[in-house]
Symmetry: C2
Subunit: 102 residues, 2 copies
């Protein structure tokens, strides 16, 4: 099952690192506890809408851009899952062998 | 503050109605309580990632498409808010008067 919170966490962490900010910086600007932001970035906690808005504001990122990135990542994962489930069994075995050999 | 859960709820309800499904249908297919789905659609409860995935599966909608629609709605609201905050005060008063007159 593809979980939005994992991809959202990845996008938020990536954006924070791109800006050279620490968890402490974002925590202070967003007024959200450092531990909570860390768990959100690791996909371990769902971000409430208020918390997500505060983090995006601290990163000076429009919410729409973050959600658009999440949507793109979801589409990529959905395509991967669809590709794997539509493979014939022989191709799947070959894919596994290739993976092991690589 | 723009809240993702409100726009997500709007998109989910819109998609359900487009398919002519009832809350009861989605609740049964997604194995999520009817009350919880209703609260999510009204933007009153955050949807967990698992619950969101189950609802999208019940609606046979890719998560990426739902999040893309949410992102579009967010962009529209952000543009409206940005437009209002960049208006000079006199224009805002005119806008209010126009709204009341309309």
């Amino acid at each position: 099952m593809i979980l939005v919170r994992r991809l959202l966490g990845d996008v938020l962490r990536q954006q924070r690192l791109l800006q050279g900010k620490t968890l402490r910086d974002v925590s202070a600007d967003a007024r959200v506890s450092l531990g909570y932001i860390s768990e959100i970035e690791r996909g371990q906690k769902e971000a409430s809408s208020e918390c997500l808005a505060a983090i995006c504001q601290a990163l000076e990122l429009p919410l729409s851009r973050v959600m658009s990135q999440v949507s793109g990542e979801l589409a990529r994962e959905e395509a991967t899952v669809a590709g794997l489930t539509s493979l014939p069994v022989s191709a799947k075995v070959r894919a596994d062998v290739t993976t092991v050999a690589a």
